[in-house]
């Protein structure tokens, strides 16, 4: 659509809106791929399909990084949203660290190739499911922050809920691991992987907490 140059302000705004949406899409996609990757790993180990998922998450992470930098640069060079600029910056960087954690956990599997006994596989998948739900809710809450501030709490409380659920599953899983007859080294390794996954939910909760404050700031 051709617009006169006097509307360039609005055109730039539209482009930036799209970039923010794309950034949030990347995080959501990365979490869904993460879920698939863990499923694949628990079912068939470190297969080619798993590596492919890891590769996809890896690419999403670097695209998200590029997008984040571009958004931040534009916000500052065009002195947009002076009041919420710092908050938006904080939000984007924290969301970026969520995707980093997802990627880090998958790299862990790829490098250490832990052997997960049959008994625990279902719990690993259940834990992953909770974590991914938390990330998904966080992405929705973040979208609402930009488009419909009043809806932020509706999504935020779900992040808290899934984080609690993830904690519950991870505690149960860790207890089961350490009460088993496995060698201590394997117990420690399995515990590390539980924590790798659970960390993502914790990080999501931290971001949600900040988001709640940013929301209060904007509605006062």
């Amino acid at each position: 659509m051709d617009m006169p140059s006097s509307f360039s302000l609005f055109r730039r705004t539209k482009a930036l809106e799209t970039e923010i949406d794309q950034f949030l899409d990347k995080i959501s996609q990365a979490s869904l791929l993460f879920k698939r990757a863990i499923q694949i790993y628990t079912e068939s180990g470190c297969t080619e399909e798993f590596d492919e998922k890891l590769h996809q998450v890896n690419q999403l992470e670097s695209t998200a990084d590029h997008l984040r930098r571009a958004i931040e640069t534009q916000l500052y060079t065009q002195t947009l949203i002076p009041e919420s600029r710092g908050d938006v910056l904080g939000l984007l960087e924290n969301l970026d660290s969520v995707i980093n954690d997802l990627e880090g956990a998958l790299w862990g599997f790829s490098i250490e190739i832990p052997v997960i006994p049959e008994d625990y596989r279902a719990d690993y998948v259940a834990l992953t499911d909770m974590v991914v739900q938390a990330v998904e809710s966080l992405v929705l809450a973040s979208r609402a922050f930009f488009r419909n501030i009043e809806a932020v709490p509706d999504h935020n409380h779900k992040v808290m809920f899934y984080e609690k659920e993830a904690d519950r599953v991870s505690t149960k899983l860790k207890k089961a691991i350490f009460r088993s007859d496995l060698p201590l080294s394997q117990k420690a390794q399995l515990r590390n992987f539980v924590e790798h996954i659970d960390n993502v939910a914790d990080k999501s909760e931290d971001v949600a907490d900040r988001l709640a404050i940013y929301t209060i700031k904007r509605t006062v």
Partner: protein, 494 residues
């Protein structure tokens, strides 16, 4: 002569500069204070629109003299403009938004006291009313507007970035309009007095396009205001935009828009005329001022948010500044006039004598004044307004209004209708019929100026004021402005 006028003009330009430095904050203060618009962008837009407003709308009544027009000698106008500017400059240095108009009224009162001219008490009451009425009206409108905007935003669900872009555009638009009317409304005060003595000549670009000497003078005045905006307005902008209360960008827009709404609804003669001619109820015109309205709107937002964020010390300072401005201007003017007259030997006022002459008494009687009360004073002459007022003070049965009527009728202001004067008026905004009427009076002399007005009204319909009502208000004010030009042209004692 030219050099003197140019010298006197400098005080008008100083006033323009002070006006720009202080009043730009009313239209762009909140935008700059919330960092939504950069200072240089704001100053650029403000400067351009002030100049446009001054040149194109300031000439609405080209004959307009502004408030300083009541000062009857150029030396006096110089000092009045200078002291008003100095008072505003001092307030600007303190970062306080004040009203330039009130500063001018203050300095005119100083001149009145010095020249022993009667001061119109209503102008004083008007200032007092402005301090209370403007902020209250603006606060109410700001609260209502903010609530409406909040409801709208809740339902519209606009993206944060888009809200930001719209707010920014809204602030720029409101600022540009505000700057335009700032230039249009205030240019008369800056250079109005100098229009009759303009050192410029008309430029003709083609047969169609003429750049009159008045417009050139207004352009110069507009530049003075723009320079004030660029060089010195940031401080007051920051007080308005954040010193008094930390504002969100949307609140910033609400503030500047409410201030414009207040000025439009309660001070616009054009709106009153429009409503009256369409048979709609009119909104009573009340004395409102831009600076007071902006501060009121900010306080309104502050109250809406529970009042915790308002910095009362800053507000107290601003209030003190409002009171100080006219007082300071009056004082500086009075002292300045003393020096200008006694040390620099300049004429700072033309003495206005009064005589209870036969025609004057007749006029008073016609206007309902009980002239029997001062029959012994008939045909006596008084050298100043104060003298005649004192002589009449003890008489019973004379109201304040009667006193105004008597002073008006008795003022001696010799009018000599001469051909050169009529020729010079041909180029002004007078109609052919009006000039015709003047021609038929060529050679006549009138001791009181109202006698010339009466004579003109007898000859021509076009010089007759219409019945007093809201519809005819603008017509009558315009007629008065034209008469003022005629009086200035034919005044014998220049």
């Amino acid at each position: 002569m030219e050099i003197t006028i140019l010298f006197f003009l400098t005080s008008g330009l100083f006033l323009g500069w002070a006006l720009g430095a202080n009043d730009a904050a009313n239209v762009f203060g909140t935008a700059v204070g919330t960092r939504m618009v950069q200072f240089t962008t704001a100053a650029m837009i403000c400067g351009v629109f002030v100049i446009l407003g001054a040149v194109f709308s300031g000439a609405g009544t080209t004959e307009t003299l502004g408030k300083l027009g009541s000062v009857n000698a150029l030396g006096g106008s110089f000092m009045a403009a200078f002291s008003a500017a100095l008072a505003v400059y001092m307030m600007t240095k303190l970062g306080l938004p004040v009203s330039t108009t009130q500063s001018i009224v203050g300095s005119i009162i100083g001149w009145n006291l010095f020249s022993q001219t009667q001061t119109d008490t209503t102008s004083l009451l008007k200032i007092l009313a402005t301090w209370v009425v403007s902020p209250i009206l603006a606060a109410i409108i700001a609260i209502v507007l903010f609530k409406l905007v909040a409801v709208f935003l809740r339902h519209a669900k606009i993206h944060l970035l888009r809200t930001d872009a719209y707010t920014r555009a809204g602030l720029l638009l409101a600022g540009a309009f505000g700057s335009y009317s700032l230039g249009a409304n205030n240019i008369a005060n800056v250079v109005g007095v100098f229009i009759p003595a303009s050192p410029f000549t008309d430029f003709h670009f083609t047969d169609l396009l003429t750049f009159t000497s008045t417009q050139q003078l207004m352009l110069l005045g507009g530049f003075a205001i723009a320079v004030g905006v660029f060089t010195y307005s940031k401080r007051v902008m920051l007080t308005v935009g954040g010193g008094l209360l930390s504002l969100s960008p949307i609140a910033a827009w609400v503030v500047v828009t409410s201030h414009s709404i207040v000025l439009f609804l309660f001070a616009s003669k054009g709106l009153e005329h429009f409503l009256a001619t369409n048979g709609l109820p009119t909104i009573p015109l009340v004395p409102v001022s831009s600076s007071q309205a902006v501060v009121g709107a900010i306080i309104g937002i502050g109250i809406l948010k529970g009042g915790r964020g308002i910095r009362w010390r800053v507000l107290g300072g601003i209030g003190a500044g409002w009171v100080m401005t006219p007082l300071l201007a009056g004082l500086i003017c009075f002292v300045g006039l003393f020096f200008l007259q006694n040390v620099f030997d300049q004429k700072v006022y033309r003495p206005v004598p009064y005589e209870l002459s036969e025609p004057a008494i007749e006029r008073m009687e016609k206007l309902g004044v009980a002239v029997g009360n001062f029959r012994d004073l008939h045909s006596r002459r008084f050298e100043t307004a104060i003298a005649i007022r004192d002589a009449l003070k003890e008489r019973t049965g004379l109201s304040d209004e009667d006193l105004v009527t008597i002073l008006d009728a008795a003022e001696l202001d010799l009018m000599v209708v001469d051909a050169t004067g009529i020729d010079s008026l041909e180029k002004s905004r007078l109609t052919d019929g009006q000039v015709q009427a003047l021609r038929s009076l060529a050679g006549e002399r009138y001791p009181h100026r109202w006698m010339l007005a009466d004579a003109l009204a007898r000859i021509s319909e076009e010089w007759r004021p219409r019945e007093k009502n809201k519809i005819n208000k603008i017509y009558n004010v315009d007629l008065k402005a034209r008469l003022a030009v005629v009086f200035r042209t034919f005044r014998a004692d220049q």
